[in-house]
């Protein structure tokens, strides 16, 4: 049974009396411990899809089921990492990390201990008492991911988590993200417009068309794990990448 199932979901928005169709009968799913990417051009409704799964929005049409349950509210049941890090500027790092358990009424002391023990893995050791503005861009994203993981949800939704980083940081963060996913054994849904990133990280990739967003192709990436930067030049990697790029080109033509 897929842990997330999105069936024929449509969503439209209204701006100044004009209607925008963000998603048009989108279906997708993610199985347990799968890494699923959603690739598409900017403004194709990728983030809307993620917000729908998280429960921030409700579909106009169609259904979304978490763990087979289509009626229960979704808020509070998936880990969500917003596009920018969403760290609260008045909280020190450790207090930001334990925000989830605090909101959910879990034992904050235990969460703090767990956060503390994970700091080295996230490259945040020694910054327990730092404010967000004192951290570098990469550190902020890693902190945001750790905060998301500490919510202890099966599913983690990532909305272009590497989008705001410079190219160099982005490359190291990619490998690091793979490592984290393998260690934590979560189901990840990853939104991006970077095709290389999607192929490198994912088990499966959904390719979306420009607005109104539709799924134009679903690709299973059959590359052995663990993967790393070295994969980028190999023929199998390049053929996946070209396939996706061609699909994107055709759908936007």
């Amino acid at each position: 049974m897929p842990i997330i199932r999105v069936e024929q979901v449509s969503k439209a928005f209204q701006v100044d009396g004009r209607v925008f169709y963000a998603l048009d009968r989108v279906s997708m799913e993610a199985r347990q411990r799968e890494f699923v990417s959603i690739v598409g051009p900017s403004g194709c409704g990728k983030s809307t899809l993620l917000n729908l799964v998280a429960g921030l929005l409700d579909p106009d049409d169609g259904e979304i089921a978490l763990q087979g349950d289509r009626s229960a509210p979704r808020l509070g049941r998936v880990g969500y990492m917003p596009q920018r890090d969403g760290l609260l500027p008045w909280r020190r790092l450790l207090d930001n990390l334990t925000l989830g358990p605090e909101i959910m009424g879990r034992d904050v002391a235990i969460a703090r201990e767990r956060a503390r023990s994970l700091l080295p893995l996230f490259g945040l050791e020694g910054f327990e008492r730092s404010y967000a503005h004192e951290l570098s861009g990469g550190m902020r994203q890693r902190a945001a991911l750790l905060r998301t993981l500490l919510c202890e949800q099966e599913v983690v939704l990532l909305d272009e988590p590497l989008g705001a980083l410079d190219a160099l940081t982005r490359r190291t963060m990619r490998d690091w993200l793979l490592d984290i996913w393998e260690r934590f054994e979560r189901t990840m849904v990853f939104v991006t417009h970077d095709v290389d990133e999607a192929v490198l990280l994912s088990d499966r990739i959904y390719v979306m068309s420009p607005r109104p967003g539709r799924i134009v192709s679903e690709i299973t990436v059959d590359l052995s794990r663990p993967r790393g930067e070295g994969l980028l030049g190999q023929p199998s990697f390049i053929s996946y990448r070209d396939e996706i790029l061609n699909t994107l080109r055709e759908s936007s033509a």
């Binding site: 509070g76 998936v78 008045w90």
Partner: protein, 262 residues
Amino acid sequence: MIRRRLRQLWPSVALCTALLCGWQAAVNLLGVQDWLLPSPVQIARAGWQAAPILCPHIWETTRETLAGFALALFVGLGLGMLVDYSSTVRAAVYPLLVLSQTVPVIAIAPLLVIWFGYGILPKVIVVALVCFFPIVINTADGLQSTDAEQIALLRTMGATRSQIFRKVRLPGALPAFFTGIKVGITYSVVGAIMGEWVGASSGLGVFMLRATNSFRTDWVFVSIAVTAMLSLMLFGAVTLLERAALRWYWSSRRTEEWEEIR
């Protein structure tokens, strides 16, 4: 750090000193009479002599100011949150708030004396009337300006409306709230003095009126100086409180200065 502070401070200190010296010299050289315009030295001397009489008046005004400001804080914070809570309340109350600021306080003050007598209450109300507006507006605006992404994040964690308010919106509104307080507190002492002018038996406003009526121009200047100092002290206290409460805010706004060594 301290050197930089000094460097920021000395121009204003120098300008003030120059102005006072100019004033002193002008009065001495032109032979202006005391009752028309006393010199700074005369004012300082008068202040020293009047200190025993002045102290109870200062205390009275301080009391009125603090009580009035506390009332303004209470009402301002409450109204600010109420206006934020519901858009209907916002639509209903906002125009009235603006209207309340167009009514001259000097016209209301005598009415307050008629209604509440010559005690401390009318002055407290005048102070509150003068101060609460910037507090309401800034609190409401601060609450409205919350980062949508942070709210979305908390919602995905299953946060209730009250959790979102306490953990994101309220702390996020604090910088704006303090801005409102700082604007309000600068008006507060003047508000108390206006209240005293209409009818009181003690306070800086009373002292000022008596000094004017008896042509003690030096005492008028003394009370002006005391008013200014009182306002500055209150403003300074709020600023210190703000720095302590908003460490994160000030440290995020501080920019490092890269200076050439030579």
